[in-house]
């Protein structure tokens, strides 16, 4: 490749991470290290009921016996788990009575990120739960939601206020011993969002959680539990950013979704954790377990993710289709650049009759990055008449990046139908020259290519975020070009 081209691609992909600032704030942290004592301390600090401590300790014991998975196509320096801080919370003098009492520094942080904690300046139809390091800072529109019977609060609050609900459902979708990172999360999870939609209710607002890692040495372990009772409907969006540190940070989250008969959950993620610098130094390890169960008939769970950040991503949002005629969907855009590595995809487990799943994955790799789609479609023997359609498209920008597609297909039912399509295209020097020869500059060329490539996924995002996601992708590749 000519120097000219290398320069072009480099100037495009050297983005400025505009969320990389750090907020200086006094934090209440426990000592680094993971042991029974630190877990008791976390539970104690959160004033949790006994069942939670039990859940954590049991998970910890399982974790001790597990190995960090190494089958993903990613290379990284393993986290030193005993050096991490497992609880860090902004020091607040007193219990907050209203959103106005949020620490001005933290409020400013969220304003800078474009998230207003001020209900007057709300995003159209979006209720926000803001999580800063391990702790939920504020949840907007709680009272509006309560009128509809919807519970939307930090999970730490739910543990105390709705212990029976939490006890009943926590760990039911992702058991604490599911995998290494899920076990770790179950032992030490700090906060996250809890959302409960009662029977026959359409959630009146778009629910959103905004996660922010701030503390340098602390890991972020948030836990989200989302329950949609019969014939209810909810749309949920999470966003993530972190400051720019030269050391890596660990983020190991668990998300559990449960959709009962005729219920529908739409879960969207725009992930933009700090991805490390151009040399691959620093960045967030994003090791996340996300799963949903469609337990009752006709239930539907839809995952949409736009993954642009993190130095290493290990993430497979999945659907377990238990009820008859249930639907699972996975729509994904994963963009990697510089030395980022992503191994992401989904699992669709067909158990009930006439279950349907659809997987559309778009991977974009630039720089020296690695981007892998890994997906499992499993049709159980009794899942008569089930259907899956999978489409995986990879786009390579330049010649140094890599894309892989690893589909696993296990069909044990002859009346079911599984389809898989895959494509790989490369945008190289000649294609860029074609655009330029027609007078279209590089910035516009790249944004045209990306919008076209990702359009199918962006239309699945809640409207308020679709434009943002489009901009984010362009920003990641266009650097200074706004």
């Amino acid at each position: 490749m000519s120097d000219y081209k290398n320069e072009l691609i480099e100037s495009l992909v050297n983005d400025d991470y505009k969320y990389g600032f750090e907020t200086r704030i006094e934090a209440d942290r426990i000592k680094p290290g993971l042991n029974e004592k630190s877990i008791r301390e976390i539970s104690n600090k959160k004033m949790e009921p006994a069942f939670m401590l039990e859940f954590r300790l049991k998970s910890y014991k399982k974790w001790l016996q597990m190995q960090e998975p190494d089958w993903a196509l990613v290379n990284y320096e393993k986290t030193k788990y005993q050096d991490l801080v497992y609880y860090s919370s902004p020091k607040s003098k007193k219990k907050l009575k209203s959103l106005d009492e949020v620490d001005p520094e933290i409020r400013k942080t969220f304003e800078k990120l474009g998230i207003s904690l001020n209900e007057q300046k709300r995003l159209t139809n979006v209720a926000v739960d803001a999580v800063f390091d391990s702790v939920s800072i504020a949840t907007t529109f709680k009272s509006d939601l309560a009128k509809a019977g919807v519970i939307f609060c930090p999970i730490s609050e739910a543990v105390i206020q709705y212990p029976s609900l939490v006890k009943k459902y926590l760990g039911k979708v992702v058991p604490s011993g599911d995998n290494f990172f899920a076990a770790l999360n179950s032992a030490v999870f700090s906060d996250g969002s809890f959302c409960y939609i009662p029977k026959n209710t359409v959630c009146p607002l778009e629910l959103s959680t905004y996660f922010r890692i701030n503390d340098k040495e602390s890991g972020q372990f948030e836990r989200t539990l989302n329950i949609a009772e019969e014939k209810s409907r909810v749309s949920y969006l999470e966003g993530c950013t972190a400051p720019q540190f030269s050391e890596t940070q660990l983020h190991a989250a668990v998300v559990e979704l449960l959709a009962f008969k005729n219920a529908e959950i739409k879960y969207s993620t725009v992930q933009n954790w700090y991805s490390g610098d151009e040399q691959g130094k620093g960045g967030v390890y994003n090791f996340v377990t996300k799963r949903g169960i469609c337990s009752g008939e006709n239930a539907k769970i839809s995952w949409t993710q736009v993954e642009t950040g993190s130095s290493v991503t290990w993430k497979y949002p999945s659907c377990v289709l238990v009820g008859k005629n249930t639907t699972g969907e996975f729509y994904s855009v994963a963009l990697t650049n510089n030395y980022q590595q992503a191994d992401t995809g989904t699992k669709m487990i067909h158990i009930g009759n006439y279950t349907k799943s659809k997987v559309i994955s778009k991977g974009i790799s630039a720089g020296s990055s690695k981007n892998t789609y890994r997906g499992l479609i499993k049709i159980n023997p009794k899942a008569n008449g089930s259907k899956n359609y999978t489409q995986c498209d990879s786009l390579l920008l330049g010649k140094k990046s890599k894309a892989s597609t690893i589909p696993y297909l296990q069909s044990s039912n002859p009346s079911s139908k599984v389809e898989h399509e895959a494509s790989t295209s490369q945008i190289g020097e000649d294609q860029l020259f074609y655009f330029l020869q027609r007078g279209i500059n590089v910035e516009n060329a790249i944004s045209l290519i990306l919008s076209g490539f990702c359009q199918e996924i962006f239309t699945k995002l809640p409207m308020e975020f679709a434009i943002e996601a489009d901009k984010l992708l362009s920003l990641k590749l266009e650097g200074s070009i706004g």
Binding site: S2, Y4, K5, L8, L395, S423, S425, I427, E429, D430, Q431, F433, Y434, F435, L436, Q437, R438, G439, I440, N441, N444, L448, I449, L450, G452, F453, Q455
Partner: protein
């Protein structure tokens, strides 16, 4: 209009153009013929500014501007259009969007107002008639699933819309059936006027029967070795390069 002096150009360290001179004035049609590997496509790409081709000596002027130092998109805005020998496929971008972006980039360069998609479509459909292209090719990705002939028509369509003053046609006639060649030739003749010029790179006299060249150049080993009128092409076809030069 186009003035090339002592042009040397290399790719991957290998010199392909070795001191080429050429002058093309408005209202003129030039044809370049020559054996395979003589540097015809290199000339086309060097004029258009393909980044893989490096000018090591000499100059290309277009009007007052020295092209050597300009980016390919700037050269495009000045009126240089290269109809590719092998038009590229662009995944994920519809032909309609691509052409509109190109058109509006030019509008912007000229300080004119950009055209919205609805009004642009009208303009586009009009020009498509000129090259006899079916509307279904608008919704497809650029050149994806196009036949060889459709790809070439698509190039001429873009040239017509951009109203470029210098059209460099790199073997536009190769791989065309007789009907398509005729349609494209008629379109090219309609596009042509006294303010424009064409540089046709070809192996065959066939296209020159439809589009009458004012000059025919023979290129061998990176240089123009012989220049004549339209008759030279006929002569070449009858006798072959070796005998003529």
């Amino acid at each position: 209009m186009l003035r090339i002096k002592n042009l040397h150009s290399k790719i991957d360290g290998i010199e392909i153009l070795k001191g080429l001179n050429l002058e093309i004035n408005p209202g003129e049609i030039h044809a370049i013929m020559g054996p395979n590997g003589s540097g015809k496509s290199t000339l086309a790409k060097t004029i258009a500014g393909h980044p893989a081709y490096q000018i090591t000596d000499g100059s290309i002027h277009y009007g007052e501007k020295l092209l050597n130092v300009l980016d390919p998109d700037e050269r495009s805005h000045l009126g240089i259009f290269l109809a590719f020998q092998y038009p590229l496929e662009i995944p994920g971008v519809t032909n309609e969007d691509f052409i509109r972006f190109a058109y509006n980039a030019k509008m912007k360069f000229e300080g004119k107002e950009e055209v919205d998609p609805i009004n642009f479509l009208k303009l586009l459909l009009e020009k498509m008639q000129l090259v006899g292209m079916n509307q279904k090719f608008l919704a497809r990705n650029v050149n994806e699933g196009f036949s060889g002939g459709e790809k070439k028509k698509n190039e001429i369509l873009q040239m017509a819309l951009l109203n470029s003053s210098l059209g460099i046609l790199d073997e536009t006639d190769s791989g065309l059936d007789i009907d398509a060649l005729k349609v494209i030739s008629i379109a090219l003749n309609k596009i042509f006027n006294q303010d424009k010029s064409f540089l046709l790179i070809t192996h065959y006299n066939r296209i020159l029967e439809y589009i009458k060249p004012d000059f025919v150049h023979v290129m061998v080993n990176g240089k123009i070795v012989k220049t004549g009128g339209a008759d030279l092409a006929l002569d070449l076809e009858k006798k072959g390069y070796e005998e003529v030069i």
